[in-house]
Amino acid sequence: MEQLKTIGRELAMGSQGGGWTGQSKEFLDLVKSIGEARSKAEEDRIILREIESLRRRIAEPDVPRRRMKEYIIRLVYAEMLGHDASFGYIHAVKMTHDDSLSLKRTGYLAVTLFLSDDHDLIILIVNTIQKDLRSDNYLIVCAALTAACKLINEETIPAVLPQVVDLLAHPKEAVRKKAVMALHRFYQRSPASVSHLISNFRKRLCDNDPGVMGATLCPLFDLITADVNSYKDLVISFVSILKQVAERRLPKAYDYHQMAAPFIQIKLLKILALLGSGDKQASGHIYNVLGDIFRKCESSSNIGNAVLYECICCVSSIYPNAKLLDAAAESTSKFLKSESHNLKYLGIDALGRLIKINPDVAEEHQLAVIDCLEDPDDTLKRKTFELLYKMTKSTNVEVIVDRMIDYMISINDNHYKTEIASRCVELAEQFAPSNQWFIQFSVSNNFTFQTMNKVFEHAGDLVNVRVAHNLMRLIAEGFGEDDEGADSQLRSSAFNIELLFLHSELEFIYGNSTHIAAKILNNILCNKFLKMVNSYLRILGEPKLPSLFLQVICWVLGEYGTADGKYSASYIIGKLCDVTEAHLCNDTVKVYF
């Protein structure tokens, strides 16, 4: 009676078209209790208890195979929730040796989820995979191929490579398809060991089954990315395949939301974009089919828009063609004007690509772009900043950089902060309109530089150092060539304080490191300070200098006053003593001697 009730509940729970789950009441209870757990701590407790009980039971001798299968599934569940179940790995490996398909599949599934390709247990599995690749049952072969995609690494490739290549000619298309993907994976892991087999990919491109052909596009894309010129002869084939797909000559099964094999179309468009880039002749073959797709695309569905977007990407990377560029610009307009955020995002991205070919395209969309900038959606904002970065000219650099700095101060993501910071600096470097702007930029940037300092302390990569370098060079160079300007700048004590602060901060961070950039930085600053010595000496005589300014002067003179040998130490000390007499009240100043 109990058993019937259990079976009844199990059927009710999991049988909707899926077949009998074959799991015990215990597992269902476990999953239910996890579902009802009110906190992560409670969930953790339940799972840890489960893991303990499994650890005991799985080690028992003579566990029936089906029961073992369920234990393994429960371990997969535990690992998925973030706990360690490594004691069960060996049992999963043993299960792959089983003859029954159902148990073998579970074993393979568990093993691909538990292990990575550098695990010690892989050696035990390679033999099984080898055997299963030769099996008569195509489902077993498929399971073995799926496992091979995850678990075979550079060392074990030679063990399975010959069989996988043989399977490329297997009668079942599912097997051929997976063999292609497996071979692709091997190529990614170790290009050298598979390089002599690349012609196989070309052959599979002409396979009867569209699924296999579609799968072959993945490795071909990688190969073409690495070496475009060897594959230029395939342009015509790809174009003809794309044409057939667009004309709906593939089986209906590949239709998706009224579009003919859109995923395959997208892959082909990506490949053609690579092949046609910079090549007038190759691009010539592509224009017609691209025009057709633009016309036929359903812009009312997501997938239609995805294909349209891919077309725009293709158009912007191949040799320019006026009609296609117009069509692309029109589609971009539609994206930008739409209500959906996703489409606006794609529109901004497409605009960024089209600008590279024709900068005027951005003009008519300025309002839409500004709307996106003001949008509360962070993703859209960031994308728009990327666009602005591409759109910057000397006329609008100040506005754009100001905006970027404002945004940078407001966000919390450190990774993105430094990215924006380096962009700002690059733009300023490239387009800075005047020295005055430099100074202001540096002043406002000091605040941002302080935030960046925190990032520098934690991060450690090259980009940040370059940013600091550029920033300091800007400030140092932006000091003004003419003396008059220099004088007034000297008097702006705020600016000098910053300079000092920045210098000390840099010393603090890069102090003992032998980093070349830091050295260059210091050198630049030293040179600047040397030049300032003269001016400082002149100013010292004047009364009523702000004390902070005085501190700076004293420090600089102390460090660099005698550096170029023009003034003797005694002279400088004499001057400084005069100053101390005049400003007796300030102790800090004295420290700087």
């Binding site: 899926g18 398909l101 159902s102 993907m181 395959i264 606006k344 450690g460 000390s504 102090g511």
Partner: protein, 199 residues
């Protein structure tokens, strides 16, 4: 010479060098796996409450990193409003997500939605990935009959089998629903035969 910060200098200097070296090595390792420029790095299904329903990792992530990833992404995605983009930028990658409410639960007014999240490289076609998610959901729907969160909770290993037919090694393997359904059915038939034999 006035040394403003004598001690911290040396400390931070050496930390800087080691941190720099570590990140250099790490980026080298990651570059190795990003050899293919368009790849899916992982697929995560989480509930509205942030509970994990399914995870599949196509790039190397240690167990601890996985928990961090899930926590960070849950915080990022579950708080987004309904009208915003379905894409977020995260640590130099993009994550495309889609919320799924089963028809049955909506009718019963039960608020239990699933978020399907896929992590891709920044240059990939985001809308296409959104549609791949939809493709996966439609296949699950076909298999379970209007899939809801409960189905995935109790049959997560079946969902894995289905996912393995659609995506392999981080790439789209099969775009025909019919082919996937046929393969899964063939496998289930054999399984059922085994099970009935066991009794």
């Amino acid at each position: 010479m006035v040394r403003l910060y004598p001690n911290r200098c040396q400390l931070v200097g050496s930390a800087f060098i080691s941190g720099f070296l570590i990140s250099l090595v790490r980026s080298f390792i990651i570059d190795y796996y990003l050899f293919c420029s368009f790849q899916i790095h992982f697929v995560i299904l989480i509930s509205r409450q942030g509970k994990v329903r399914l995870t599949k990792w196509y790039s190397p992530y240690q167990q601890k990193e996985r928990s961090t990833v899930i926590r960070e992404l849950s915080g990022l995605i579950l708080t987004r409003g309904p009208k915003l983009c379905n894409f977020v930028e995260w640590k130099g990658f993009k994550v495309v997500y889609r919320r799924h409410d089963s028809i049955i639960l909506v009718i019963l007014n039960l608020y239990a939605s699933l978020y399907f999240c896929i992590c891709i490289d920044p240059d990939d076609n985001e809308l296409e990935i959104l549609e791949i998610i939809h493709h996966f959901v439609e296949i699950l729907d076909r298999y379970f009959g209007s899939v809801c969160e409960l189905d995935l909770i109790f049959n997560f290993h079946k969902a894995y089998y289905i996912l393995d037919e659609i995506l392999i090694a981080g790439e789209l393997q099969e775009s025909s629903k019919k082919t996937v359904a046929r393969l899964i059915a063939a496998q289930v038939n054999v399984t059922e035969r085994c099970v009935s034999l066991a009794f």
